[in-house]
Amino acid sequence: MTVDLAVDLGFLKLRNPVLAASGTFGYGTEFAPFLDLSSLGGIVVKGLYYGPREGNPPPRLVETASGLLNAIGLQGIGVEAFAAEILPELRRRGAEVWVNVCGEDEDEYLRVISFLDGLDGIAAYELNISCPNVRRNGLCPALRPDWTYDLVRAAKERSRRPLVAKLSPNVTDIVEIARAAERAGADGLSLVNTFLAMAVDPETRRPRLGNVFGGLSGPAIKPIALRMVYQAASAVRVPVIGMGGIMSGRDAVEFLIAGARAVEVGTANFVDPAAAARIVREIEAFCREKGIARVSDLVGTITI
């Protein structure tokens, strides 16, 4: 039995529902030794500001129980170097490229989009309105529906490409934020970004991260992420891309059943650099075993 892995996001057809999550897949090229980049549904490259960024002082990573706490602070090369050095290589390798768009303020988000709009070979933008590592206190637009609405709307008006808004889990009511992003014209939603968190070193009595706070990802957060994806997918019509702690095909299937049209694989890429491709195969094997002809037949089939 062959399984049809393709999923239709409405604004874009994916060869399969697995994307590599932003910031956990470098610029994509780092993974070329480990997997065929064209075998994934897509790769969301590391968050891009307009110019190069310094990032936060180390330590930037702390391992926690089944989780990873990071405060990279979006160190990166900026759009020009991306266009010159990275994008051509990704296209040559047949990758479906998404760009995670960042900005210090609305103006920078729009400048990034304008610049990228001028390039070929980008499938969609993921608007990163939810990074907890840029401001010390974890503030970001996705914490409030009005901020979310304003920024998504401005970005959508500027963009010539499909725009997916990436939401934060650090909110009381994810549905309210999801609806605001939809109303503002987002073509899809992706969630969750990392949870604002911290760790303290009892020896030094200092925060373990140079940046004090960081973002928690990995298997630890999966149950909370899955709940939010389910709530968001139940509340909006645009497609939802789910993520948070996906390590295996079965984890991915949980998100699809809960309503995600596609998934992103994050922290797992660090543990197993071939994880994203493996998860595609594991989803396929799951469908075959259960006699499911199209992976899209799983989406949103949860029975309450």
Binding site: G26, P33, F34, E54, L61, Q75, V271
Partner: protein, 264 residues
Amino acid sequence: MPYAVKIPIVRKQSWGDYHLFRFQAPEMAAAARPGQFVMIRPGESTAPLLRRPISIHGRDRGALEIFFQVAGEGTALLARRKAGDTFDVLGPLGRGFDLDAPLDGKTACLLGGGRGIAPLYFLALELADRGALVKVLYGGRTADDLPVRDRFEEAGLELACSTDDGSFGFPGLVTGLLETEIPVRRPDFLFVCGPDPMMKAAAGLASRFRIPAQISLESVMGCGFGACWGCVRRIKRAGAEAWRKICEDGPVFPAEDIVWEGWK
């Protein structure tokens, strides 16, 4: 890049908290260069989650060796493996020591502190192969912290030891031993790996005596292959300072490029 999920352990030696494993990995062994490292998964569950970076300690035909000290949960789990078990290993990774300069007849001093001795055994053999005169300085807290000293001697490498408590060899820090060596031996090159304060002190001596030094840095690593940007340290290059990835640009750097201040 060689990448193997399961690699069989063929030999294990232990001295208290220190362990030496040899595992069969012909492709990896063929590709490995001194100063490179591997990322090993401590277990199969999600806690601990990430792989741990461990230097390549030795190479012997199709086998690689690692030498490590138990530092926490991850290395404790690794230490529990026995000969016959397998490791989930990714590597070799990183750029390793720069051995492009002519080495024949040159004098190289290798300075290892504690577990920092790990990459220096592989390096020492390679340097000796290339005709360098190698002297290894190996420091530990006590005599028990110098478990692999016999290996150097058995390989015919010149070795001097130091202990903080004076229980073996030179009493004091290994950098103290280096200070006594420099005037005698006038090394052409220094290669250093150990705790940060020791490496910083060694870098100071290198600069004072104008000896080119290469230093192998440590940092917490998320991936080991340049994807997470988690492992950075402050590095100066062409006059400009930046957070550079240890795993990809290093772990070995010229001593003068390392910015020791203001990052921790």
